[in-house]
């Protein structure tokens, strides 16, 4: 997933954001909400909050976030300082915050983080239950990433997720003789082969790309019903299902455009925009970048999205990159922190943010499926359910530091890449992945 948003576009978006700010209230009106009494978190005297969250990739993400925060300060008198931190730095900053017991009160970090620091964050069950009750319940990925493993205790409030379904050129797929993206492996392979034949190939990132590479690997793994580790955290990647996935990779790889082994996150965006690639998994940012640039608008008009092929899986084998709000124990103002998160999640603010981000974040509460943003463009349809997937990073094991390391170390990506390049047999690649993953899942004495 990478993010081509030009400055010009960003400015246009900002302008639109301000122009439509007054509409936020009306737009939010169509979000159904149950009549649930807000929980009572009396804000402490003299409260002030510091918040960090990942930096934006679409401009309104930051603009509207700040706007909503300013509104919170106006209504409650609580000063809030929000810092936007680079995507690669925020994990380290969260770690330091957790270890030293100092720093920001609220971290809106990555999905895994509250699980890694479960003992350092305060429980948000009351808040999560209120929000779930009011807005039609949580999406399935929200439940997975929000609750402490095997409990009903919430340790994070998932605020949104970004997914990478298939982005494809309608004309190319039609020319290849298909009306839609097949859901089974054999059909999808035939489509990819046909695309290659007409010289309009697709491509999946197999380089050390944090988002796209892991997306490719997870799709292949889950669509063959394989999984990294079982419910108890025992590594289970060296399985018959994985071998099948690797064999499939071996057939699929020759259909890719050349160079996918070195693709980093932005590469497929560039290649798609340059009409070198005609089918690739990616976030919504690519579509908007194309749509907002007059030179590439024709590509956007010819672009549609489809869920990743299910293969043998019953559900779409897709997860999401999630931002998860957590409150650290060291905060002196836990109630103010909870109120801040609640405020940001309430429809008046949240829907405005969602709408202005143009679908970049998929919502975490079910009621927001009715948000206007999802009807604003038919191409957005698959992103509406971005958070409604049953898979997560490190599926089926609990989310821990180990699962975070396995994806940061590209263990699964490299397993597929080594087979694709012919460096290893499927059996050897699966064994190697098992060896590496076991190291991080080893029990700690």
């Amino acid at each position: 997933m990478a993010f081509i948003i030009t400055r010009r576009q960003g400015l246009a978006l900002t302008g639109a954001a301000f122009a439509s700010a007054w509409m936020a209230q009306q737009a939010a009106a169509q979000i159904p909400r149950a009549d649930v009494a807000a929980p009572n978190f009396p804000i402490e005297n003299g409260a002030a909050l510091r918040v960090i969250r990942p930096s934006r990739f679409v401009e309104p993400d930051e603009v509207i976030w700040r706007e909503n925060t300013a509104k919170f300060t106006r209504e409650t008198g609580v000063d809030v300082r929000v810092d936007f931190v680079g995507w690669e730095d925020i994990r380290a900053q969260t770690g330091v915050t957790a270890n030293t017991g100092a720093g920001p009160d609220i971290v809106v970090g990555w999905g895994d983080d509250p699980h890694i620091y479960a003992d350092k964050v305060i429980e948000l069950t009351d808040l999560a239950e209120y929000l779930g009750g009011r807005y039609g319940g949580w999406m399935s990925l929200s439940e997975i990433y929000g609750k402490r493993v095997r409990t009903n205790n919430w340790i994070g409030i998932p605020m949104g997720g970004s997914t990478g379904p298939i982005v494809y050129r309608k004309s190319a797929v039609k020319e290849a003789g298909f009306d839609s993206i097949p859901e089974d492996h054999a059909g999808f392979l035939r489509l990819m082969q046909a695309l290659k034949r007409i010289n309009k190939p697709g491509g999946f990132a197999l380089g050390n790309a944090v988002g796209d590479g892991n997306g490719t690997a997870n799709w292949l793994t889950w669509s063959h019903n394989a999984f990294l580790a079982d419910e108890d955290g025992r590594v289970a990647i060296n399985s018959r299902e994985t071998i099948a996935a690797l064999n499939y990779m071996r057939e699929l790889y020759p259909t890719f455009v050349s160079g996918t082994l070195s693709w980093l996150d932005p590469t497929n965006n560039r290649a798609y925009a340059a009409e070198e690639v005609f089918l690739t998994p990616n976030g919504i940012s690519l579509y908007y970048a194309l749509k907002n640039d007059p030179r590439t608008r024709h590509i956007a008009e010819d672009t549609d999205h489809a869920p990743l092929p299910k293969g043998l899986s019953e559900k779409v084998p897709q997860s999401a990159t999630i931002i998860n709000a957590m409150v650290f124990r060291h905060t002196r103002f836990p109630n103010a922190a909870k109120q801040y998160i609640r405020f940001m999640m309430e429809a008046e603010q949240y829907d405005h943010w969602l709408t202005q981000c143009l679908g970049y974040w998929s919502h975490s509460l079910r009621a927001f499926s009715n948000s206007k943003v999802w009807d604003s463009d038919p191409a957005l349809a698959v992103y509406r359910n971005g958070m409604d997937h049953p898979f997560w990073s490190g599926y089926k094991a609990p989310i821990t530091q180990a699962s975070a390391t396995v994806s940061a170390e590209f263990i699964l990506v490299q397993m597929y890449a080594s087979v694709a390049s012919g460096q290893a047999t499927p059996e050897a690649a699966a064994r190697e992945a098992e060896r590496r993953a076991s190291r991080y899942y080893r029990s700690r004495g």
Binding site: G95, L206, S258, S262, Q414, S421
Partner: protein
């Protein structure tokens, strides 16, 4: 007048010697002075060099992760690394990368220095331009090379395919292990040449022209002048520059991390990038530190080699070796 005669008798006037205070005595005491003068420097070294280095070495023997204090696990990290093929690939590539890039940089750098040492028009401007690759921040030149090597948009591919028509497909610079390895080495050489060339040029200019004149009178050839005058006279500075160059190359990080992130399939990981990859994004600080610590013997060896093989005193004084 007696009194004046008496006054004429020279009086050796000495300043009354007052008892030195304890602080004066303390400040006159050499050992104390030495300690007090060294203290700021030692303090800086301890805080900014020894402590981080010591902490890194200590962490290599623990299972510290980001966000969790580690416990002492002895050599477990090293034992795991010893049987980790990715680590050994990184060790191999670090040595290969350093070796080939150093040879390339010195070969081309020395040649460039010899050319620049001639009288050329616009000599100063030329020399300044030569330095550009070295001045540009590595991260920037890395991104430039990333584009040059891009599988879809490489300008090299564009020339060969679209302009000259000698190839049908784009060159996949970074897509297979050896292609990626050589591409990175080429980028590193491009970046390292100016440092070598300018340093050696400085060395060349210290060689007295009279030596060449004498050699010319003796009817020497160009190669002989290079072999018996330039090269020996250049050796001391060559040793220093080579030591630095080897250390910079061996610990290179930005080029590789920005262009390939160690891919494809870990074939271009240097020890430095692997240590970072495991330690920071991977969160396994202990293991990352162990990889970093494993670099130390290589660096010590490289330094000692440069010094003892190339910087012998007797060479510098024109005597023969023992």
């Amino acid at each position: 007048m007696n009194s004046t005669a008496a006054a004429a008798i020279p009086v050796t006037w000495t300043r009354p010697r007052t008892q030195a205070t304890w602080i004066e005595r303390l400040l006159d005491w050499k050992p104390f002075l030495i300690i007090i003068c060294l203290l700021p420097a030692v303090g800086l070294l301890v805080v900014f060099l020894t402590y981080p280095l010591g902490l890194g070495i200590w962490m290599a023997f623990t299972d510290t992760t980001i966000g969790r204090r580690g416990v002492w696990i002895g050599l477990e990290n090293f034992e795991y690394l010893a049987e980790d093929p990715i680590f050994w690939t990184a060790v191999f590539y670090s040595c290969f990368y350093t070796g080939v890039a150093t040879i390339g940089k010195f070969g081309l750098g020395l040649w460039l220095a010899l050319l620049l040492n001639n009288h050329l028009p616009f000599k100063s401007i030329l020399r300044a331009i030569i330095l550009l690759p070295w001045i540009v921040p590595t991260a920037l030149s890395a991104i430039a090379f990333w584009w040059l090597y891009d599988p879809q948009f490489s300008i090299f591919s564009y020339f060969l395919v679209q302009v000259l028509g000698v190839r049908d497909t784009n060159i996949d610079f970074l897509g297979s292990p050896w292609a990626a390895r050589w591409s990175l080495i080429a980028a590193n050489i491009w970046r390292g040449i100016p440092f070598v060339a300018i340093s050696l040029l400085a060395g060349l200019q210290t060689i007295s022209p009279s030596l060449y004149e004498a050699a010319l009178l003796d009817g020497s050839t160009g190669w002989q002048r290079f072999r018996y005058i330039t090269f020996p006279m250049l050796l001391p500075i060559l040793a220093i520059v080579m030591t630095f160059s080897i250390i910079f190359t061996f610990t290179d990080f930005q080029l590789v991390y920005a262009i390939t992130r160690g891919g494809p399939i870990n074939s271009t990981h240097l020890m430095a990038t692997l240590a970072f990859q495991r330690g920071i994004p991977g969160g396994q600080l202990g293991e990352g530190a162990a990889i970093a610590v494993a670099m130390i013997p290589f660096l010590v060896f490289a330094t000692l080699f440069s010094y003892f093989a190339l910087a012998r005193r007797k060479w510098q004084q024109g005597e023969s070796n023992d």
